[in-house]
Symmetry: C2
């Protein structure tokens, strides 16, 4: 899937290890109950435990030294135990490691918090740091007790296998129904110093960011205060991850966190100046591309759909309208069928819970194969069905909705609704 460039940044390899001073690893400790399907078996190439052939399920990211840290969490009232523990640990605005398991979300279990704290203690002990400097996350099935023994048994190998190029193993370890690993990194400049921001994300179903979506881990070597790091993260989440919907469900475990090591030795960012802007821009480049990857890898998806709303009364209205289209089951099914059913687009625009005049709305359907107008001033216009079909045959579709009544704009991302979504979710205790 093509990456979208952002001025002032340049893509680099390495994901969460791209920034200086971060090591990562991922192993299979035995939580995985389904054999690896459809992805490369990398067990032979590293330090997996004797469950070869099963997916990695335990990941670790460690910074050479303590970092400033920030996070954003789900707004679902049901919060996974890991979130409760991580929130507590991040009260200081500092952290040095992230321990993540997949397969089991450690949510809605009576002993959840105890288990999440135990994971931090186990990691901390291997690393020689305090448990409060560890961020913990879990993803997978809700409501099944998390077995701690495999995690405890695997911690030594997990720590010993850390490396400055271990990001691919970590990414695999956080995946659940994802079909592809999602990571991206950019380098940019702050006052002549090269800085890097890199991230990895997992997320495919149960996605409707009404917070920060799924699990996203970001590292950077920029030197930035905890307060500004939090601000940059919160701002960027709002216009990226919070504008993705795969199926309208908001997870109980969604979290994004960022660690900033300061090893790039830029002039420390302590106020909202040009350096802060450059940092936010790089963070945006990473998170926007991760958001697109997530939407594209939506459960069962065959297409990435982007809805760009312009000229809305306000930005908020633009966002509400864009998300309304992206979330419409009927529209998503039409995209799967490559059917230029603009009536459903207009319908979704019409029931968006925002104030605007529907009679000024115009809609275009576009992709790399072209662009056609399908609606003007709230009514249909003639268009070539053949051209529409050609445009919709692409993997990335853009719906452009011009509300014609202001300066607000927003972009949201989603995917089509397919048979595979139903298949995956009709039989996956998650």
């Amino acid at each position: 899937m093509k990456l979208v460039e952002v001025d002032g940044t340049e893509f680099v390899e390495g994901g969460v290890c791209a920034a200086k001073g971060f090591r990562a690893n991922g192993i299979c400790c035995g939580l995985a109950h389904k054999p690896l399907t459809g992805t490369e078996n990398t067990a032979a190439a590293d330090n997996a435990l004797p469950n070869s052939g099963k997916k990695r399920d335990l990941a670790l990211i460690v910074a050479d030294k303590e970092c400033t840290a920030a996070a954003v969490y789900t707004t679902n009232k049901v919060k996974g135990a890991p979130i409760t523990v991580t929130k507590k640990h991040l009260e200081t605005g500092t952290a040095q490691a992230v321990i993540v398991n997949s397969v089991n979300a450690n949510t809605c279990n009576a002993d959840g918090i105890e288990k999440a704290e135990k994971m931090c203690e186990l990691a901390a002990a291997e690393l020689g740091i305090a448990p409060e400097k560890v961020i913990v996350a879990s993803t997978g099935v809700i409501g099944q007790v998390l077995p701690i023994e495999p995690i405890a048994n695997g911690m030594k190998a997990l720590a010993e296998g850390l490396s400055y190029d271990g990001n691919p193993r970590a990414v695999e370890a956080i995946m659940t129904t994802d079909t592809v690993p999602k990571e991206v990194a950019v380098k940019f400049s702050i006052g002549g110093k090269t800085c890097t921001v890199g991230g990895m994300l997992k997320g495919s179903g149960m996605i409707r960011p009404n917070m920060a979506t799924t699990l996203t881990f970001i590292t950077t070597d920029a030197d930035i205060s905890a307060e500004l790091l939090q601000r940059a993260l919160s701002d960027t989440v709002k216009v990226t991850l919070n504008r993705v919907s795969v199926d309208g469900d908001t997870s109980t475990n969604d979290m994004v966190c960022v660690l900033a090591s300061g090893t790039a030795e830029n002039t420390p960012i302590k106020k909202e100046n040009a350096d802060f802007d450059a940092f936010e821009c790089a963070l945006y480049a990473v998170m926007m591309n991760l958001a697109r990857m997530m939407a594209r890898d939506g459960e069962g998806a065959t297409k990435l759909i982007e809805c760009a709303v312009t000229n809305a009364p306000t930005e908020k209205t633009a966002e509400i309208v864009a998300k309304s289209v992206i979330c419409s089951a009927l529209f998503k099914a039409a995209m799967f069928g490559e059917d230029a059913n603009w009536g459903r687009i207009l319908c979704a625009i019409g029931y968006a819970e925002a104030e605007f005049d529907i009679d000024k709305v115009g809609v275009h359907i576009a992709s790399d194969k072209g662009d056609i107008e399908v609606c003007r001033n709230g009514a249909g216009v003639e268009f070539s069905e053949e051209k529409a079909k050609e445009i919709l045959s692409e993997e990335e579709i853009r719906i452009l909705a011009d509300l014609g009544q202001g300066g607000g704009a927003a972009v949201a991302w989603g995917c089509d609704l397919t048979y595979d979504y139903v298949k995956i979710n009709g039989d996956y205790r998650s």
Copy 2:
């Protein structure tokens, strides 16, 4: 599908013709472009035009004399032209006929209002009444111009074929993706006089009542003022049709209307007294059962799902929570897979946009085959997967969520998410 009884009412046959003084008919005038599939070909038995084998597409309901009338309409900003015209006609609170076409929604067309008014004029001319006494409705594809010629050509036969038992033909004529005709009627008593309320509904996809859902036509022979008729209708819509979701989409053409002829000769209902309550009760019996039928016939549905929320801080909270569960794609897919995935239920409860304490929530899954507790105080409890599977094998599933913190209650209805939903909507220009 079983009907649910309401105290004080008794089911009778006849749908919109059950109440005294109402005739109905439905013909195929040539709008239908798809042959009749899967339903009985009734063309031979009546006055269908020479398009035998195609679905009826034009319906008419006529009262012997002018009635008090009321309606509730979609809140989608995109409103079908028929709605605009009907609203205007109902300013007087009176009407005598309803003309409905299926196949084409007459929405988002430049000449929509002109066509909708023309339909009223054509019907009125055949019936010898004023066009303003005609309610008009359309359902089907959005954004394709409505051909008026077939309707004009068919009006004579449509009017001549009216009968006091013509309701089955009318119901067929309003169907689009519905797989079954939906009608129900009840008789009840007002001051010793027998009164009747009957209704018919069409609706299967693009359903999320944020108003009054799809097309519903109700007749009654009760004598009731226009103002109270409107109040009864609005109140009842809120707790029935507005609590159904098939796929989260709110249509552009949704409307419910009711005609009250007064021929039952009850003491006229002019204030909110016991007679008014009895009338509302009967209206509720009809609309609640129509709502359940609609949910059960959701596009591709194999199951009717009912979510009953009790002990919420307020009724509004209960409603928001019930609808949140019913609308969850992940939950719906799990129901299709007969998977007791209570974690998804709790997740949907958790992201409902209402204030309450998640740690007091308990959930049961039930059907005619039994009832099991799956969640208590916001956490999972042990349950028999075998028993759960048995319970979920039924066609009607009930999710019972007790919030444990108040007296508010509400019930919402929906259906499972299946491959057929995707199939139907991946290739239906609607």
